[in-house]
Symmetry: C2
Subunit: 260 residues, 2 copies
């Protein structure tokens, strides 16, 4: 396996890392391994966490807003959404959970879900007893720190989502989201060139970005005509990352892995 230098922080900062995620590891090991050197024991523990897996079909809700939430989920393969459904039938997608992401990391004695989570593609998801999360904070300080980092990162992602919804125009929102997903997919090594998984429909995008389907379509068309992105079924290619970056004011630092 060749070693490769990867510019992980995007175009603006020139931070370079030499950690290459090996794809035979599970996504969460690749993710945490990208920010800290993990021992064999730590990696084995993480893999062991994911013994109890669940196959969730595309379109299925596996966490439901208001229901008791007693388990922690680790996404192993596939994309999921976290969303809130309003009584009016309108939907707001809060964020996407990608491979290596954790849902319900902070379940406690008697917690109820404050969102619904659904599989956007067929997914492989690990079901974890939250007591094992507590075990981590007792026995594995590095991993505990990694989980803390994951939490802070989730907050950053949600914060960026608020910026998109509150202070960016329609096309900027799309560009900004694409750059977020690019940063996140890079971290887990699931990006080839500038080709990115893109399993969501335009209706999903609309519900993510607070727009109508029609308007998402218009802006997507415009981005394509201006050769900034290329769409293929289930994939998007970022032809012009600089243009996306400039138009959206995306802050790469918010999701930079190595914060030096």
């Amino acid at each position: 396996m060749e070693e490769r230098k990867v510019n992980i922080a995007g175009t603006r900062s020139g931070i370079v890392a030499d950690l290459q995620p090996s794809m035979d590891r599970s996504a969460i090991v690749r993710k945490l391994g990208a920010i800290a050197l993990l021992s064999q024991e730590e990696m084995d523990f993480l893999e062991g966490l994911q013994n109890n897996t669940l196959l969730v079909e595309r379109g299925t809700d596996f966490i439901v807003d208001g229901d008791d939430l007693k388990t922690t989920f680790i996404i192993m393969e596939g994309w999921t959404t976290r969303y809130i459904m309003l009584p009016s039938g309108r939907r707001q997608i809060l964020s996407y959970a990608l491979p290596g992401d954790i849902l319900g990391l902070h379940v406690n004695f008697r917690s109820k879900a404050t969102y619904t989570a659904a599989a956007l593609t067929d997914c492989k998801i690990a079901v974890v007893d939250p007591r094992r999360i507590i075990e981590i904070s007792q026995k594995f300080p590095i991993l505990a720190s990694g989980l803390s980092w994951c939490t802070a990162r989730e907050f950053a992602i949600l914060g960026d989502q608020a910026v998109r919804l509150g202070r960016l125009g329609a096309q900027q929102r799309i560009a900004h989201l694409l750059l977020e997903l690019r940063s996140r997919m890079r971290l887990i090594g699931e990006i080839e060139g500038e080709w990115l998984d893109f399993p969501m429909t335009q209706a999903d995008l609309a519900d993510t970005l607070g727009l109508s389907i029609v308007h998402v379509n218009r802006q997507l068309m415009d981005l394509r005509q201006r050769k900034i992105i290329t769409l293929k079924k289930d994939y998007v290619h970022l032809d012009d990352v600089d243009a996306l970056s400039e138009m959206s004011h995306f802050d790469f630092e918010h999701l930079a892995e190595f914060q030096i």
Copy 2:
């Protein structure tokens, strides 16, 4: 001190608790004490955490986006905002941190702030060594669980903020935010009748709700004319909570203290 029954979950659910926050305790003790019976030792530890205090003047940034974040802050008195400033000069307020709220709970080895935090009023803020947070998870399981609950709650608050920005109209957003703040102030016992602290300017509100100042003003005027709210300098009175609730689809369960 008389014991009083308080309906804490809002209008829809009839959940009743008999825990009355005693105002001689610090806000975070009132907050965690409202969800779990704390021992004297636990309360003392929490109070001890807050020995190192900081007085922050209204308008001052005490956490800056991009700067190293090595400490945890507990808001003791006053209101603060977390916001992101775009290169264009536009600002998005992500959330308000009220007394008893924690900022930087998930700082780790080398983390940088992904938002700026500013005092909205003069504030008293405790500066806490993050190692003491780790100490909590080792020694005080109830408190650790309480912090986990705080984290989940912060996610719920941010999720609701995304719903406001993405899927509600201008007036709905205002109503929704008011109900959120009401729920949160109730928890720490800082609400009298339906009078609520309201230290933010209309410009702050605009930057919170993704609207222009003028439009915030228009909608605020309309709510006042329809006798749904009353404004006084630094305070708002919710004249018609049911109307606010119905128009905004606010989900009280997301911030309900006791999740039975």
